[in-house]
């Protein structure tokens, strides 16, 4: 075990006397190898093949580095690019790559590796799920659909150290976007040698702080420190092992047995127990994730009536759900964009009585007003509103759905709960077969645009088909605005517009839940829940 024998862990075990270190049969391992439990299996080391699981970014951000990187607290730092210039119109970015950037085989990381990586991602033959992340780049969409050749993509290597990126429009979140793994470089020289097999473990080279040496599917990925990494001297760990642990409770057991230094996520129902038994190791922090209920705005659904939407949203007691039902492992929310997004103030929905007074904090007044609205809309206990509420099958979603439907019962609402596995759930709601549906969104990058894009008319993940000309106009204006403050104001106005329409029911913010050995330094809870191992060290 890499830990310094876990005295703190054993103190908390019920039968500590028998748990002598000498009796532990786990073999001793390298001095400073970090063991991280991740909740899923990486799809590939080829960044065009990533399936989008949040566990995948933990491995990828350790083995690759993009133009920028993140500090322990989530701040953006120069990465492969030592510096960059932005043109006055905000559409052209010139990146100056660092002199000492090298792949793990000693070859330099050049601007061509970025050009190749991005073209590879957008190549229709790569069939990348996440290719659309790069659509802000000139011709990216046309290249991805095969309408234009790869060479037309708006990214060029002026010389080995200079990368120029042309954007369709000023994209104020572009630097934030560069933290996403779709923008990492891929090694052109090994691609030319091995083709598709360039990510085989025998051929793979990486440019991050660590490089993979072993992959046992469904068990673990092992990496060692990359000696060619430009800051290799500052990397404290000799290597990192990523253990695939889908069963969250099993992950907790293995952490408590001292087999893991970090467990990325534990079940929310375990929180109070863990907080009591291993308080120093139990982390919970705000996270860029929004949990909400979608209203169906398509013709023929009762949720097209704004009074019904307002009443339903008003009657949801978010504190009760967050505190009593979920034991504080979610935070109550009145906004769609989660709090904590950079350069943005989340807009809260305001509930008002018939005279226009703010009654958001007065639950009794809210229930009264909600009843009035329902009556106005023509519903009563004799003529109840029947709604179909869909959610994907997990204990958490079920608890919330049951609680919410009981909160609506006094309004004369009869809810039919329908649950299905995630694949079926999202397909069904995309087809519009629901009145109200559970949804959630975890930010890909720290910018409000990430959320606001979901409510545009016709947007792919706009499950409820919300459509507002005013909203679309504000969104569009914000996208074209270079000035950060002006853009922020426009985006905030857009969110406020959608909330005033009760486009959806904002309900909860996600939190990140990690178990972290207190003997580690360099871990900081942050809103992105990104924790590059490069900063972590193990105290003796």
């Amino acid at each position: 075990m890499s830990l310094s024998r876990n005295t703190w862990l054993r103190r908390t075990a019920l039968v500590s006397a028998i748990g002598l270190a000498g009796l532990t049969l786990a073999p001793a391992s390298l001095a400073a190898t970090l063991d991280i439990g991740v909740t899923g299996e990486l799809a590939s080391f080829d960044t065009s093949k990533i399936s989008g699981g949040i566990w995948e970014s933990q491995v990828l951000m350790d083995v690759y580095e993009g133009l920028v990187k993140e500090s322990p607290d989530g701040e953006i730092l120069p990465g492969m690019a030592a510096s960059w210039d932005v043109s006055e119109d905000g559409r052209t970015y010139t990146f100056h790559l660092r002199e000492d950037a090298r792949w793990s085989d000693g070859e330099p990381v050049t601007a061509d590796d970025f050009v190749f990586g991005w073209r590879h991602l957008l190549d229709p033959a790569s069939a990348s799920k996440y290719a659309y992340q790069l659509y802000p780049v000139v011709n990216a969409e046309a290249v991805n659909t095969g309408d234009k050749p790869l060479e037309e993509l708006g990214v060029e290597a002026v010389d080995p150290r200079t990368l120029v990126v042309h954007l369709n429009a000023p994209t104020p979140y572009f630097i934030q976007l560069l933290t996403h793994y779709t923008t990492y470089p891929q090694p052109l020289h090994t691609w030319q040698e091995f083709g598709q097999d360039y990510v085989d473990l025998d051929n793979i080279v990486t440019n991050g702080a660590f490089t993979p040496t072993e992959w046992i599917s469904q068990s673990r990925i092992t990496t060692r420190k990359n000696p060619e990494y430009y800051e290799a001297d500052e990397v404290a760990l000799d290597g990192v092992r990523y253990h695939t642990i889908e069963d969250r409770n099993a992950g907790v057991s293995r952490f408590r047995a001292g087999e893991l230094d970090i467990m990325r996520e534990y079940a929310s129902s375990m929180y109070s127990l863990l907080k009591e038994q291993i308080p120093d190791a139990t982390h919970m922090a705000p996270y860029l994730g929004s949990y909400y209920y979608v209203f169906n705005h398509r013709e023929g659904h009762p949720t097209t009536d704004p009074r019904v939407r307002e009443a339903l949203s008003m009657a949801v007691r978010r504190e009760v759900i967050a505190q009593q039902i979920l034991q504080g492992t979610f935070l109550p929310s009145l906004s769609f964009v989660p709090e904590g997004i950079e350069h943005y103030d989340a807009q809260n929905v305001t509930f008002r009585d018939a005279d226009g007074n703010d009654i958001t904090d007065d639950m009794n007044a809210r229930m009264e007003r909600a009843q009035e609205l329902m009556e106005e809309a023509g519903y009563s206990s004799e003529n109840p509103l029947r709604l179909r509420l869909r959610y994907n099958t997990t204990d958490e979603h079920k608890k919330i759905a049951v609680a919410v439907s009981s909160m609506w019962r006094p309004l004369g609402v009869e809810v039919e709960l329908v649950n299905s596995e995630a694949t079926v759930h999202y397909q069904t709601i995309a087809q519009g077969d629901f009145d109200i549906a559970r949804a959630g969104w975890i930010a890909d990058y720290n910018d409000a645009e990430n959320y606001l894009a979901l409510l545009r008319t016709g947007a792919g993940n706009n499950y409820g088909a919300y459509s507002s000309a005013e909203y679309d106009e504000l969104y569009h204006q914000a996208a074209m605005t270079l000035d950060a403050d002006e853009r922020e104001a426009l985006m905030e106005q857009a969110e406020a517009t959608a909330l005033a329409d009760n486009a959806l029911i904002p309900m909860l913010y996600y939190v990140s839940r990690n178990l972290v050995n207190p003997a580690l330094s360099g871990w900081e809870d942050n809103i992105d829940d990104d924790h590059p191992s490069r900063w972590i060290s193990i105290d003796e």
Binding site: R10, A13, V15, I18, G19, L20, L23, T24, L25, A26, E41, L42, A43, S44, F45, D46, K49, S51, G52, P124, A125, S126, A127, S128, K129, A131, Y132, N144, T145, V199, D200, W215, I216, S217, Q218, S219, R220, H243, T244, I245, E246, N249, A250, S253, R254, R256, A257, G258, E259, E421, A422, T423, V424, Y426, Q427, T428, A430, G440, G460, N461
Partner: protein, 308 residues
């Protein structure tokens, strides 16, 4: 015997074809596809994905393509685990499942058979009731309860054994999963052995053996044991096929890289090729195990002979 074996193997071909066909079309009937998820994809990206995996072709053409590849031993690429082909996933995971499952069955036989015999010989005594009571508990308590309990007691509290992880098959890592897998099997085998032993002991030829003046030990070992093993043997065929293809619960709780999880995950992810790969593999194993059981039958019971 050889002729019989060959005949049975030939008969397996149409059986497998039916299994493959049903599985192939059932999977396509299930709502949702391999690329549906929490985030709906832009249509052009979905089109790229469909084309890359030939899902844009008519269904019969996909079916023909699949059969064609299968004949050449190619199960296709996994839709989800993109750095591996289905063959690689099965070849990497099966030895692990085989090792754990094989040892679990061995342990189950070593413990279950004697327990069953003892219970039968001491019928309606305290020993019998204790053994059968424990066996009932072993069947009643599901392994998603037994496994975390074992991990908690021996891994977290006592720290005698690792709470999980495979560690390249180190013995300490294998003990808890093997025990967790074996417990319900021990229970089944003990109950079955007891019942069949009691039946055999009541038969005429045992009375004859006793009348000849043989000792009880000789009666049990020379005359009762072999026929009493028959029901257990026929149970073992499918049981072994089931247990060596892994258990999703045991694998997830102990972090074992076997193939059991692929059955469930493949289906949930609509990973068509992975589901088909596991179905074909499992189907072939069942056919094979049943054949072996039938051959063992003839060794145990002289009345059963397959050659004309």
């Amino acid at each position: 015997m050889l002729k019989y074996t060959l005949k049975r193997l030939l008969q397996a071909i149409p059986t497998m074809l039916v299994v493959i066909t049903i599985a192939f079309f059932l999977m396509r009937v299930a709502p949702g596809g391999p690329f549906d998820g929490e985030r709906s994809l832009p249509p052009q990206i979905e089109a790229n994905l469909m084309a890359a995996y030939h899902l844009d072709e008519p269904l019969w053409q996909q079916y023909a393509r699949y059969l064609g590849n299968l004949v050449q031993g190619d199960f296709g690429p996994s839709f989800k685990y993109k750095d591996f082909t289905v063959t690689e996933l099965i070849m990497q995971g099966f030895p692990v499942s085989l090792e754990i499952g094989g040892l679990a069955i061995l342990l189950a036989l070593l413990v279950g058979l004697p327990l069953g015999v003892i219970a039968a010989l001491r019928r309606n005594t305290g020993i019998d009731y204790t053994v059968m009571g424990l066996a009932l508990a072993g069947i009643a308590v599901p392994n998603f309860v037994i496994a975390p309990l074992l991990a908690l007691v021996f891994g977290v509290l006592l720290q005698w054994l690792p709470a999980g992880g495979w560690n390249d098959g180190a013995l300490p890592n294998m003990i808890l999963p093997i025990v967790a897998l074996a417990v319900p099997q021990i229970a089944y085998i003990a109950r079955m052995m007891r019942a069949s032993m009691i039946e055999v002991l009541g038969s005429h030829y045992i009375r004859t053996a006793r009348a000849k003046g043989l000792t009880e030990t000789e009666v049990v070992w020379r005359h009762a044991m072999r026929p009493a093993l028959l029901p257990v043997t026929s149970y073992l065929g499918p049981a072994i096929a089931g247990i060596i293809t892994g258990s999703v619960v045991i694998e997830q709780i102990f972090g074992i890289p076997g193939i059991g999880r692929y059955f469930v995950q493949g289906a949930l992810n609509r990973d068509y090729t992975l589901v088909m790969g596991t179905v074909v593999f499992y189907g072939a194993l069942i056919v094979l195990m049943n054949l072996i059981v039938d051959l063992i039958y003839s060794a145990l019971d002289p009345q059963i002979r397959y050659d004309d």
